[in-house]
């Protein structure tokens, strides 16, 4: 199956190729991802004005629907929606154990009754945003803010924006992703984005216990040894080590992990001298990254946060625009019929 006819492409795009939901990077081509980055660049400029607001989503209602807790992602989505002049409703709904499917549908029906125009969804279950996009009223846009182990496409795109700002393009770039690949939706989306945008090499660096069995099929090289893995890297992305994984006996100890895979100044010195250091946050200092590296001159971790607002503004305005264009097309066809 080609990218052109994949199911996630048809669910996410209008007939003429505009974004209308943003669920996953699978099936989206390089020109669309480049449009997102270019649009985000323009929103960065908006963020530098005295009035950091544009009227694109004026009169629209955006609901942040977080079934899983989040500070950074939720607050940057909120700020992004507000800078687009939307009204924002934040709902933090802790996942209840019983009948998730049904309660999810009911929650949505209630929110749709409030005339919402967009749902930003984070959910512990992979595929929840897809499910919502398939069943939601036409005209309502769904943005995936992280689902299970599946995808976190806005995080990956803000990382791509940060890389492009520093490196100019993706051509010839070697990018390493270090840490818990197995449980990481961020890594999955990053690998997809880097391959689509034409990076020369994506390398995942992790112990076997933190890699999926079919890691290479994601479109990356696998390296178990950090020293070898760091060689020639232009970009190193550290993933957060989720403490709860320790209990699953996937790792001997935090200290052991840091010794083998933590990004210290010594290990960073093995990469190219202009290698940038990234981390989706929140960072565990001394667990996956040394403080001197996180705060050092090669770190772009705080740029990632700033870029997160611009990327989310781009994706939200593009998806809302696609929905509205489709709606006026439907109306025009209805009038002709």
């Amino acid at each position: 199956m080609t990218a052109q006819d994949s199911p996630s492409r048809s669910l996410q795009l209008t007939r003429d190729g505009q974004l209308k939901h943003f669920l996953t990077l699978d099936g989206l081509d390089r020109s669309l991802l480049t449009d997102i980055l270019d649009t985000a660049d323009s929103f960065i400029e908006v963020g530098e004005r005295s009035i950091k607001k544009v009227p694109l989503l004026r009169g629209r209602t955006v609901v942040n629907l977080f079934f899983e807790s989040s500070t950074r992602t939720r607050s940057t989505f909120e700020l992004a929606a507000k800078r687009l002049s939307a009204d924002v409703l934040n709902l933090d709904i802790s996942t209840s154990a019983t009948s998730k499917g049904e309660s999810l549908s009911d929650t949505l029906l209630n929110l749709e009754a409030m005339a919402s125009d967009m749902f930003v969804v984070r959910h512990a279950q992979s595929g929840a945003p897809h499910f919502i996009a398939e069943s939601v009223t036409p005209g309502v846009a769904i943005i995936n803010a992280g689902d299970g182990r599946h995808a976190h496409p806005t995080q990956a795109m803000l990382d791509m924006l940060t890389i492009r700002q520093r490196k100019g393009s993706f051509e010839g770039l070697r990018v390493g992703i270090v840490g818990d690949i197995l449980h990481s939706r961020v890594a999955r989306s990053q690998i997809c984005a880097l391959n689509t945008l034409g990076a020369a090499e994506v390398r995942v660096i992790a112990p076997a216990t933190l890699l999926p069995q079919d890691a290479e099929s994601l479109g990356c090289k696998v390296e178990y040894d950090m020293a070898r893995g760091m060689k020639d890297l232009d970009v190193v992305i550290m993933l957060r080590l989720q403490r709860e994984r320790m209990e699953g006996a996937l790792l001997p100890s935090e200290r052991e992990f840091y010794r083998l895979y933590g990004l210290s100044q010594d290990k960073l010195a093995l990469a190219r001298p202009d290698c940038i250091v990234m981390h989706p946050g929140p960072i565990n200092r001394g667990v996956e990254i040394e403080s001197a590296v996180a705060d050092g001159p090669q770190s772009v971790i705080l740029n990632q946060v700033t870029n997160g607002i611009a990327v989310r503004m781009a994706v939200m305005s593009m998806a809302m625009g696609g929905q509205m264009a489709e709606r006026s097309q439907r109306q025009a066809e209805g009038e002709r019929a």
């Binding site: 505009q18 449009d35 270019d38 649009t39 660049d41 323009s42 960065i44 400029e45 908006v46 004005r49 005295s50 009035i51 607001k53 544009v54 009227p55 694109l56 305005s317 593009m318 809302m320 625009g321 696609g322 509205m324 264009a325 006026s328």
Partner: protein, 171 residues
């Protein structure tokens, strides 16, 4: 028809009109802002003709368009660039063609998000009439009346020229 649209003549007209308006209002150092894409080329040309040292600003009005709810976002938006503070300045807003007036409305909304200018003068190379909003240029190179099957477009940047096209369909 193309003979009537000599570029140098149009620019001479625009420059003379602008000099007159600036003199009438006692404005010595205006800040030029061109609307992408044609307006930016004209801002460049007018800046040289007026002998202004200050760089001109470039506006991309995609985020302010009033047809977003019908056609969605322009996928080729580029960042606006205003290399000066607009607060308290006398602005000359420049575009190639004015018709409905909607572009100018969007541009003025955007300019005000950078600060409150002292004044705005609107300069357009060609005025096609057909206004839908109460917005008129202060200075214009030429007023044109087009037939419904005719379209006009500024091509550039080097050389700048006006393209007049005949379309097949009578939209």
């Amino acid at each position: 028809m193309t003979a009537l649209l000599d570029m140098d003549q149009l620019l001479d007209q625009l420059e003379a009109g602008l000099r007159r308006t600036l003199a009438e209002r006692g404005i010595e150092s205006p800040a030029l802002i061109g609307i992408r894409t044609g307006g930016v080329w004209l801002a460049d040309a007018l800046r040289k003709r007026l002998g202004l040292d200050e760089p001109f600003g470039e506006l991309d009005i995609s985020f302010y368009r009033d047809d977003f709810s019908r056609i969605g976002l322009n996928p080729k938006v580029t960042p606006s660039m205003l290399p000066f503070e607009t607060e308290g300045r006398d602005i000359v807003l420049i575009d190639d063609v004015i018709m409905s007036g909607r572009t100018i409305r969007a541009a003025m909304n955007e300019i005000f998000d950078y600060g409150r200018p002292a004044s705005i003068i609107l300069a357009t190379l060609i005025d096609l009439g057909a206004r839908e909003l109460p917005i008129q240029p202060d200075v214009t190179g030429r007023v044109l009346e087009l037939q419904s099957h005719q379209r006009v477009k500024l091509r550039g940047p080097d050389p700048l020229r006006i393209e007049l096209r005949e379309t097949d369909s009578q939209e």
